[in-house]
């Protein structure tokens, strides 16, 4: 058995409920939620159309009879028409930035806020945050759920909070030095920015008191974790959430750090094929679909997160019984269907990152010259991997092709491109060229 990275402290006994008890609790809460959510006219219509009430759900599998909720439903009911409680019962309103469209708002009752703080406290405690610690929160405080979610979670743990908020990296480093926080909370990319700035200033991890970091709010990779841990001299823990569902606190890593435990007493999580909407087996990539079963202000039935991840129902040595989810590896909006196989650009990226001699710059081209889809991946070679020998170059190309095929299950053509010839992206990358679309047939 692997050793825990930090002492394994359970914050809430609900985290270790035996599965039968947990599932009984889920069903009871699901039924109550279905009856409660009808107070929002949209859900009333959707449920009435299917003749569904709480009583009609006989088992947890019946969650699949419920209608999906999607981001567009939120937009169509802008700003707060999906409330299941009277407006006067609200205690807080948060919003999403609207980077992928119009902004959306979510709301909480006082009880919801308490629930949410508890969920954040669980994963903070699981990652080693203790009441004796000081935590510097360098998330944005505002409409974004990250800052306030982690703030009140850390407060519930009993830690001292330095609400530094995001930005002004020089000042962040000054605070880390002067106040000496034990733990840092921010996005993983901001953690790397802080690390990079420290390096420029000649500040070493030894000058700080940091030992822990809790990072989330955006997808990141294991390579980023290694980098962050090395540069900041900390243990870095991943957590997951989204404002539509509650914010951070949907899931988080335990001291064994092999997946994030979903707080299943609060959420029913499904992992579905984004195309067929059928469940995928453990270990396979699918879209996470989440039903909130312990919220008052704005419960959501089967919210399609568009986040792609894997589930793992194996028991965990930490004793937490919540199913574990992998990192989010992509978005179902980016999914490609090649000859009937679902492929995510992130899978191809993952494959490429593991091949020496290849730069993390690539382009995916999908075409249908005849009746069959063709997948071509253009990959930049690194200057040091170029050889004057054709045999060596062809071996590199074959190695990439095999790797991509192993990961995606689809045969593909690999085109090697000279370094620094493929487009670079700031922010959301557009790496897929689907020529089938322009031919009008899909």
């Amino acid at each position: 058995m692997p050793a825990p990275l930090v002492p394994n402290v359970i914050f809430d006994p609900a985290e270790t409920l035996p599965r039968p008890d947990l599932e009984a609790l889920q069903l009871a809460r699901l039924r109550r939620t279905v009856d409660h959510v009808r107070r929002a006219p949209f859900f009333q219509r959707e449920l009435a159309a299917r003749g569904l009430t709480g009583d009609s759900l006989r088992s947890l599998d019946d969650v699949r009879r419920l209608p999906f909720t999607v981001k567009e439903n939120l937009r169509a009911h802008y700003p707060l028409d999906l409330l299941a409680v009277p407006r006067e019962d609200l205690a807080r309103i948060h919003g999403s930035s609207g980077t992928t469209g119009t902004p959306t708002f979510v709301a909480y009752t006082a009880k919801d806020l308490d629930t949410w703080s508890g969920l954040c406290a669980r994963f903070l405690r699981a990652g080693g945050l203790s009441p004796a610690h000081t935590v510097q929160i360098s998330f944005g405080y505002g409409l974004f759920t990250g800052g306030f979610g982690l703030h009140y979670g850390a407060e519930m743990v009993g830690a001292a909070i330095l609400p530094a908020a995001a930005g002004n990296t020089d000042r962040q480093i000054q605070l880390l030095k002067d106040i000496g926080a034990d733990a840092l909370v921010c996005t993983p990319s901001y953690a790397l920015t802080i690390a990079e700035t420290m390096k420029k200033q000649g500040v070493s991890p030894g000058d700080l008191n940091l030992s822990l970091g809790f990072f989330g709010a955006e997808p990141w990779t294991e390579d980023m974790r290694v980098e962050i841990e090395k540069e900041l001299g900390i243990l870095a823990f991943n957590n997951y959430g989204l404002s539509e569902v509650i914010g951070p606190g949907v899931s988080g890593e335990c001291p064994y750090r092999d997946g994030m435990h979903v707080q299943e007493d609060n959420f029913i999580i499904e992992c579905l094929d984004p195309e067929t909407l059928e469940p995928v087996p453990d270990g396979e990539l699918g879209e996470l679909v989440i039903t909130t079963i312990n919220k008052e202000a704005m419960p959501f039935l089967r919210y399609r997160t568009r986040d792609i991840a894997r589930l793992n129902h194996e028991p965990c040595p930490c004793g937490r019984t919540g199913v574990r989810m992998s990192r989010v590896t992509g978005r179902s909006d980016d999914m490609l269907i090649i000859r009937g196989v679902n492929i995510f650009p992130s899978q191809i990226e993952e494959a490429l990152l593991r091949i020496e001699g290849v730069a993390p710059h690539y382009q995916i081209i999908v075409d249908r010259p005849g009746y069959l889809d063709e997948l071509t991946v253009r990959v930049e070679i690194r200057p040091d991997s170029f050889s004057d020998e054709m045999r060596v170059m062809q071996q590199l190309r074959d190695r990439i092709a095999r790797r991509v095929q192993t990961v995606t299950g689809v045969r593909c053509a690999i085109e090697l491109a000279p370094p620094e010839t493929l487009a670079r992206f700031e922010g959301k990358a557009k790496r897929v060229v689907d020529r089938r679309l322009s031919k009008g047939g899909l």
Partner: protein
């Protein structure tokens, strides 16, 4: 005789071969000889130039991927059996030819063979003292190691 060869990665698309050639032309660097190995998608352009260090610098500054390889240059009479004679010399040495190309120099009666051996130093030691090892033609002046 060891000669420095520059290898460049080029994509197999119209106009791609011209780019490095134009860069060298603009820098006033003359190509002594070249060879192009290609697949349907990419090619490897191999160049023997005088002032190879300067050539490498301008090509890399222009964004080309360049590697430098030691080639073995051998001068043979330009008539039947010239190449066979060299290969025979190498036959029992255990040295493998990765690839090779040849050119004739302006005087016309001599050919220069350029070998990419898996072990150029061993190949050279096998040739030491043999008439093959001397290059009498001056067309490779400046290309040597």
């Amino acid at each position: 005789m060891k000669v420095k060869q520059l290898s460049l990665f080029v994509e197999n698309r119209p106009g791609q071969l011209m780019i490095p050639c134009q860069i060298l032309a603009d820098a006033g660097i003359s190509i002594q000889t070249l060879s192009l190995a290609d697949t349907d998608q990419f090619g490897i352009l191999r160049l023997i130039v005088k002032e190879w260090e300067a050539a490498k610098k301008v090509l890399e500054e222009a964004g080309c991927v360049v590697t430098v390889t030691d080639m073995v240059a051998v001068e043979v009479p330009d008539h039947p059996g010239g190449l066979a004679k060299v290969l025979k010399e190498m036959e029992h040495s255990g040295v493998n030819v990765e690839y090779m190309y040849a050119f004739t120099c302006k005087r016309g009666d001599r050919a220069i063979l350029l070998f990419r051996f898996d072990n150029p130093d061993l190949a050279l030691s096998k040739m030491a003292g043999h008439p093959l090892s001397a290059i009498t033609c001056d067309c490779l002046n400046g290309c040597f190691d």
